[in-house]
């Protein structure tokens, strides 16, 4: 008994609830992802349109070198009677006014919006170097311990949970932690402990004093390190776990110690992933504002960290003759406070009266910042690709 076909098409959809739900779900998901893509593109485009003209120019060398190589400064805008505006800095203002003479109509100053953003770029770079160095060392060590040495059980689960929670801590809390721990109490070697020292341990030739590192690159870098530490630990642990267990068994069965096993048959294959995650950590560290607000960053500073009032090194001998001083000066860079890109953007966007000039500086900084972060992300992807090709299994 074959039922008579109702239509010519035996496979026609019946337009049932199942099919409708399928269509609805497909469209909901599609619209959702399109909103995400569209928003991202809109943000990028907005920043590009507003920021690119600040950074690029139509004349050679096509890049506004002033913006990238000068320190931030107060912008002086002088208007003449015809309504022409002349932009200059504090040193040029008088000369311009003199030249205009009677033509001078008004002068306006916009703080932080003149000059360039070299200070914040350098500061962010230093902070990133310190934080990623510290976080990578601590994070990889911790991940190796958790994944290769620690016994599985309650304790390990607790530690994992703690690390995951650490990732959810608001970054301003890290800032306060950094203020308390690194700025105010971290240990230093000094001859005479300061009054505010929490604890001073005399060591004979010097004193180990817990008086803090002050606001400086080191304090900020360590604070940022703790911000990105959970990301690095979790990612590194995943990379270690992704290395086949058989490699470890084989290596141990050949008589390798645990460390040899890790060193020769686990780490080489986990490194690509670890590096990728660390580069993403760089982007995160570079972007955080709150943790460095109290620990490293200044709203304004007219010097780079290595520009200090110090007697020049004697030029009589080679630099190696004064290597101790050179090293000291190099390390001195890290004990300076700096400007940083995110904090600079915050300052010029929220702390000064807004006008077209401050807006220009904002978008320029944001654009540079975005380009830096994007190139880091790109290089992490390229690096991973290359290393993957080398160590694949």
């Amino acid at each position: 008994m074959t039922p008579a076909p109702t239509t010519d098409n035996p496979f026609a959809g019946d337009n049932s609830g199942i099919q409708k739900r399928e269509t609805a779900a497909r469209w909901a998901l599609r619209i959702g992802s399109h909103i995400v893509v569209f928003t991202t593109l809109a943000i990028m485009l907005h920043i590009f349109v507003k920021g690119a003209p600040v950074v690029f120019q139509s004349k050679w060398p096509f890049v506004n070198t002033q913006f990238l190589t000068k320190l931030p400064a107060t912008l002086h805008v002088i208007e003449d009677k015809q309504g022409h505006r002349i932009e200059t800095d504090v040193n040029g203002a008088d000369a311009v006014k003199k030249k205009l003479g009677d033509d001078f109509r008004s002068e306006k100053t916009v703080s932080y919006s003149g000059g360039g953003i070299l200070g914040p770029i350098v500061g962010t770079a230093l902070l990133v170097v310190v934080s990623v160095g510290v976080a990578l060392f601590l994070g990889v060590a911790c991940a190796i311990y958790l994944s290769e040495y620690a016994k599985h059980g309650k304790f390990l689960e607790t530690v994992r949970l703690a690390i995951l929670n650490l990732a959810g801590v608001p970054s301003v809390v890290f800032g306060l932690f950094g203020l308390g721990a690194f700025v105010l109490t971290a240990p230093v070697f000094v001859d005479v402990p300061a009054d505010r020292s929490v604890l001073a341990i005399p060591l004979g030739f010097t004193t180990l004093s817990f008086e803090g590192w002050d606001t400086c690159v080191l304090s900020g870098g360590f604070t940022l390190a703790f911000v990105i530490l959970p990301v690095i630990i979790t990612a590194s642990e995943q990379c270690l776990q992704a290395v086949p267990q058989g490699f470890r068994e084989t290596s141990m069965a050949l008589g390798a110690t645990r460390w040899q096993t890790i060193r020769y048959s686990v780490l080489p294959f986990a490194t690509p992933g670890i590096l990728t995650s660390s580069i993403l950590g760089i982007a995160r560290a570079a972007g955080e504002t709150a943790p460095i607000m109290f620990t490293a960053a200044l709203a304004f500073k007219d010097k780079l960290p290595w520009q200090k009032d110090m007697p020049p090194l004697p030029t009589d001998a080679s630099i190696f003759a004064h290597w101790e001083q050179s090293v000291e000066r190099f390390l001195g860079i890290f004990t300076e406070s700096v400007q940083a890109l995110p904090y600079h953007i915050y300052t010029i966007a929220a702390k000064i009266p807004q006008n077209e000039y401050s807006e220009r500086a904002q978008y320029g900084s944001v654009f540079v910042f975005l380009v830096l972060v994007a190139s880091l992300a790109t290089s992490s992807i390229l690096l991973r690709k290359r290393l993957r090709a080398k160590y694949r299994w």
């Binding site: 490699f247 084989t250 069965a253 050949l254 008589g255 390798a256 110690t257 020769y264 160590y391």
Partner: protein, 262 residues
């Protein structure tokens, strides 16, 4: 089967398991195992899945130490006359002398040369000539030298499954162990590769002592001199292979061999 037979001609067994109980945490996996493995013989461990063959094998080089909660609860394991659980036994030295080949061939994603040299390198061998010589010797033993001598620096993952498993054998024998433990070395291989490895086994027995776990009873007949039959964590019967297969003493063994197993 008395331990103190006055046999002068037979050397002491290279591996001896005495009255051993073994537990994974609270669950006991092996019960009162007694086993002697003679020098330069192939000993096969057979039995149904989950009976404890791998566990017993891994007791010999203490690979079970890696499993949390796994431990020998009674008896002892002697290798070359030494109780391997004694405090002065260095695991790295033990495993150098008791090599192991796993079920799944798992060469490192490094060159063929580096795979074979791995064991020697981690034991501190740096001399290139010693390493070269060991690589050639081990690959020859594993019947791979002729095939691979021109591409020693190619990635080991480019080899076929059978070649990879023979490479793993070469890697395990490069440190010149006395005992070679093999846990179902052929179970992931095609019949031709399996045949090659079985042929290899006789050659290997001339230099090493082989203990092999296998699911395949024909394989046990073909390659082994002695066979141990395990069931539910107990060693049911241990005898020369021919004897065990043609004339099993235990009912359980007979049932298993005939395939009428309940």
């Amino acid at each position: 089967m008395s331990a103190d037979s006055p046999a002068i001609a037979t050397p002491p067994p290279v591996v001896q398991v005495r009255d051993m109980d073994f537990c994974y945490g609270a669950s006991q996996a092996l019960f009162d195992i007694n086993l002697k493995v003679e020098y330069h013989r192939v000993t096969a461990l057979i039995g149904p899945s989950g009976c404890g063959k791998s566990t017993l094998l891994r007791c010999v080089n203490r690979m079970n130490d890696r499993v949390t909660g796994a431990r020998v609860t009674k008896g002892e394991v002697l290798v070359k006359g030494k109780n391997i659980h004694h405090a002065d036994v260095d695991l790295t030295q033990l495993r150098k002398q008791v090599g192991m080949v796993f079920q799944k061939s798992n060469p490192f994603p490094k060159s063929i040369y580096e795979n074979v040299a791995y064991g020697l390198r981690i034991h501190g061998e740096k001399s290139k000539s010693v390493l070269d010589e060991a690589v050639e010797r081990s690959l020859t033993h594993a019947a791979l030298w002729e095939e691979l001598k021109d591409r020693l620096h190619a990635n080991a993952l480019a080899l076929s499954g059978g070649q990879q498993q023979r490479l793993c054998i070469a890697r395990a024998i490069a440190t010149l162990p006395d005992v070679l433990l093999m846990d179902e070395p052929c179970s992931a291989l095609d019949p031709i590769s399996t045949l090659k490895i079985e042929e290899l086994m006789h050659q290997l027995a001339k230099e090493f002592t082989v203990v092999i776990v296998t699911h395949n009873m024909q394989q046990a007949v073909r390659v082994s001199d002695y066979t141990a039959f395990l069931h539910l964590g107990k060693l049911v019967e241990f005898a020369p292979t021919e004897e065990l297969f043609t004339n099993p003493r235990e009912k359980l063994t007979e049932a298993y061999l005939r395939g009428t197993f309940s």
